[in-house]
Amino acid sequence: MNDMTPTREQRTAALEGMGCKRKRVEDIRFTQGKGNYVDDVKLPGMLHGDFVRSPHPHARVKKIDDSEALKVPGVLAVITAETLKTVNLAWMPTLAGDVQMVLADGKVLFQNQEVAFVVATDRYAADDGINKVVVEYEPLPPLVDPFKSMDADAPVLREDLAGKTTGAHGPRKHHNHIFEWTVGDKELTDAAFKKAEVSIKEMISYHRTHPSPLETCQCVCSFDKIKGELTIYGTFQAPHVIRTVVSLIAKLPEQKIHVIAPDIGGGFGNKVGAYPGYICAAVASIVTGKPVKWVEDRIENLTATSFARDYHMTTEIAATKDGKVTGLRVHVLADHGAFDACADPSKWPAGFFNIVTGSYDFPTAHLAVDGVYTNKAPGGVAYRCSFRVTEAAYCIERAMDILAQKLNMDPAELRLKNFIKPEQFPYHSALGWEYDSGDYHTAMRKMMETTDYAALRKEQAEKRAAFARGETREIMGLGVSFFTEIVGAGPSKNCDILGISMFDSCEIRMHPTGAGIARMGTKSQGQGHETTWAQIIATEIGIPADNIMVEEGNTDTAPYGLGTYGSRSTPVAGAAIAMAARKIRAKAQMIAAYKLEVHEDDLEWDIDGFRVKGLPEKFMSMKDICWAAYNSVPPGMEPGLEAVSYYDPPNMTYPFGAYLCVMDIDVDTGVYKVRRFYALDDCGTRINPMIIEGQVHGGLTEAFAIAMGQEIRYDDTGNVVTGSFMDFFMPTAVETPHWETDFTVTPSPHHPIGAKGVGESPNVGGVPAFSNAVNDAFSFLGSTHIQMPHDYWRNWKAAKQLGAVA
C-alpha cells in the first residue's frame, strides 16, 4: 500500500451507504421548481374535469338537468351515474369489501358527494359548466351522530344493502351496521375484570381528522382508442394496486394499463384509495378520446376524500393495587361515513387495532369494533399510521395515564412496571401478534434521564401548590407516552389487499461501467427513497450511492409492489432491496473468483469488492466486476448483473419510542404553550439519520396539529364546518413547537438489515404525548379524561367545568 491507497474509512465514506447523512438527490430538482407533479403533466389536447357536488348530506336526487351546462362554451360532456351505468361503472368496489357510488345514484349520502362530472376545454370552462348543472334534490333526514346510527328509528342510509344481514366481514346487526370484529379471549378477560383489585373505564374518542397533503389528489387519464391502452398519471401511493383495480373494474387487460405516479406532494395515507375522480377522468377520456385531467381543490380534498380516525373507544383496564395490569377490554364504535372505504388489509376490518395492548405485558385482552354508516365522507385511511395503530396507541396511552391517576402512581413508573421485558422478545401478545424485538426500559429511562423527568415532576408539584395558593393562573402538564407500532405490512400470511399479498419488490440492474438502476414497487411521497434506497445498495454491493439511480412509480418498468403507506417501505421494500443486492453480490463473487482464479470460498467481501483471503493485494472491485459481468463471465454463466427480489416478510416490525411533552396552560384563556417536546425513537437500524430526523419532525408536527386543534367537524345537520384551511387547523412555523429528537437502536432480528421503519412513529406516539400533557395538567383538578382536540377554547371550557375559572 502506498499513500495514495484510500483507507477503509475513505472507501466507506465514498459509498455514502447506510448510516450516513447523505444529502437528498431529490432536492436538486425540487429546490429549482423542476419537480414533476401530476398537475405539471400536460398532454396534447388535454381536457379538464370538475365535479358538481351535493350541498345536502342526505337527499334523493330527483333530476339532473345538464342542458344549460352543455351550452357553456368549452363544455364537451356532462357525465352522470346514468352515463356510468352504460359502462358498468356507477359503483366501484372499495378496498374494504364495500361498494361506493362513483357518482350519485338515486341519492346522495354525504355533503360534497360527487353528483356529476363536467368535462371542458379548460378548468375555468369546467367550473362554468358545473355551475349550470341543475340538480333537483329531495332532502332526507341526515344521520350525523354515530352513537345514534343503530337506533331502531335511524334512517336507512344504504338502500343498496337493504335486507343484507351479512357484510364483507360477517353479520350485520342493523341497517346501518357495517361489521363487528372481535379479537382476544372474552371469557378470560371478563374473569380478569371480576378478580381485579382495581379497574378503570373511560370513553376515549379519537376525533375525525384529515391527512391533507399539500398537493391534493389528482390524475390525468389518457385512453388510446387505436391501441386500446389507458395511461394514468396520478397521485398514487400504490401505483401497481391502482393498475390492478382499474383492470378489474374497467375490464381492460392489465398490460394495457400504464400507471405512472410522478413526484407526489405528500400522501400521508390520503392517496392510497381510489376516488371517483380517477374513474370519471378515465371514463371521460374513453368517451371523448382526449386526455382528461382532474385536479381536486382544497375544499374537495378536505370534505370528500378519505378522512382519518373517528374511533370512539370505551376502554377498561383491570389491575392489581400495586399497578400490575391484568386485563384490557375495549369496545370501539367506528364511524366510517357513507361507504366503508377504509384502507385496510383485507383480513383486518379494523386494521391493526389489536396492537392496543401497546408496550405492556397484558396477560389477557379482548376487543370488539363495530363499524357504522353515517352521512359523512367515506374513507378511514391510515393517516400516517399503520391501519388504526394510531387509534390503538392513543387509546392505551390515555388509559394507562388514567390508571396511574387512579392508583396515585407516576405514569412513567406505571409503564416501567408493566413493560414487556427485554428477555420476553420475541413476545406473543394476548391479541395474537409476535413483537420482534424491543428494549422499552432502556428507552424510557433514557427519556427520563435526558429530560430530568424527576425535576420536572417536582416543578409541577410546586406549581400546583402555587396555583392552589392563588399565586399563578398557569397549570403545568407532563405528557408521557410510550408506543409500540406494528408496521411493515406485511407477511402474506396476515396481510393482503384485494387478495394480493403485501410483499414488496426491487429490481437492480448493474451496467458495465459500474453504475446501476434500481426499480421499486414503492412510491415516495417525500420520504426520500431515491436517496436512501441507493444507500442500502451502496452498502450491500459496494457501489457509490451516487452511481445508483432509483426509479419508482412506473408500472411498466417496476416490478409489482404494494406501494408506500403504513411505514411499510423500509421494512418490506428495504428488505427487498437488500435481498436483490445480495443476489447481485453472490453472482459478483462467482465472477470475481473466476477472474482472480480462486475458489469462491477463498474470497471475502471488503467494502467495495472481493479480496482473496490472506492475499490482500489480490482484489477485484465491484466496479471491475460489473465490467467483467459483460465480457468475461465464467463458462456456462449468463452475462449481465441484475437481480430482482419480491420480499414477503416473515413478520411485521415493531418500532417503539418514548416521548415527553411539557406544557403550560393558562386556565383563564385556555392558551397552551408547549415548553418542551422530547422524542426518542427506536426504529432499528438507521439508514439515513438526517432523513429519520426529518420524518420525526414532520410526524410530530402532524401529531401536534391533530391533538391540539385539527378536526373535521360536522354540525347537527350534516354540514361540514371545517372545509378549508381557514377552519381546519394547519400549524404554521409560528405555532409549531421546537422538537428534540433522540434514539436507541434495537435492530429487527428478522429483517435483512435490521431496519424497522419510522415515518409514522412520531404521529402515533406524538398524539398521546400531547393529549396526556393536557390531561395531566388538569388532573389535579379532578378530571380523568378530556377529549381531543385540545384547542384554547376547549381548554378554557375544561378549566371552567373543573371550577378553576369562575
Binding site: 444529502k23 437528498r24 431529490e26 432536492d27 436538486i28 430538482r29 425540487f30 429546490t31 429549482q32 421548481g33 423542476k34 419537480g35 414533476n36 407533479y37 398537475d39 405539471d40 400536460k42 379548460d122 378548468r123 375555468y124 391533507s212 397533503p213 399539500l214 398537493e215 391534493t216 413526484d263 407526489i264 406532494g265 405528500g266 400521508f268 381543490d297 382544497r298 411521497q525 417525500g526 420520504q527 426520500g528 438526517m690 432523513i691 430526523e693 426529518g694 420524518q695 419532525h697 414532520g698 410526524g699 410530530l700 408536527t701 402532524e702 378549508s724 384551511f725 381557514m726 394547519m730 404554521t732 412555523a733 409560528v734 409549531t736 421546537h738 422538537w739 428534540e740 429528537t741
Partner: protein, 166 residues
Amino acid sequence: MAKTHVTMKVNGAEVEGLVEPRTLLVHFIRENLGMTGTHIGCETTHCGACTVDIDGMSVKSCTMFAVQAQGSDIITVEGMANADGTLSALQEGFRMMHGLQCGFCTPGMIMRAHRLLKENASPSEEEIRMGISGNICRCTGYQNIVKAIQYAAAKINGVEFREAAE
C-alpha cells in the same frame, strides 16, 4: 370570455399572453408560460405554495389576476438558481439542512425566504418563523426550514453558519 393581452417580465425575460380577466396569475404562470415550479395547494391564500416575488414583494399568485400583474417584474422559483446553474444560497440551504421532503411547498418557501432575507439580512429564529407563517409545509415541521434560511443568511452575509445546539 373576451381575452386580454398581458405583458410582464418573468425571471428577467419579457413574456406575454392572452388571458381571460378572471385568469389567476398562478394559472397564467403554470399554464400559459409552462413554468410549473410555482405550485397550487389551496387556491385560497392559505398555503403559500404559489408564492412568487412581484416588484419586490412576496405575493400569493393564486390571489391575484394575471391582468393585475400587467407590466410587473416577477421572479419565480425557476429564477432562483445562480447564473451558472448552481444552487443559490437559499436552495443550497434547503438541501443542506434537509428543509424539504415532498418538495411541494418548497418553491413557495424559497420565494418567501428570498424576500424575507432581502428585508432582513440576519433574521432571528422568531423573525424567520413569523416571516414564513403564510406558508404551510405538511412534511417537515419547519425546524429544518428555519435552519435552511439561517444557513442561507449566513452564506449571503459571508459568515460561518453554526447550528444552534439542541
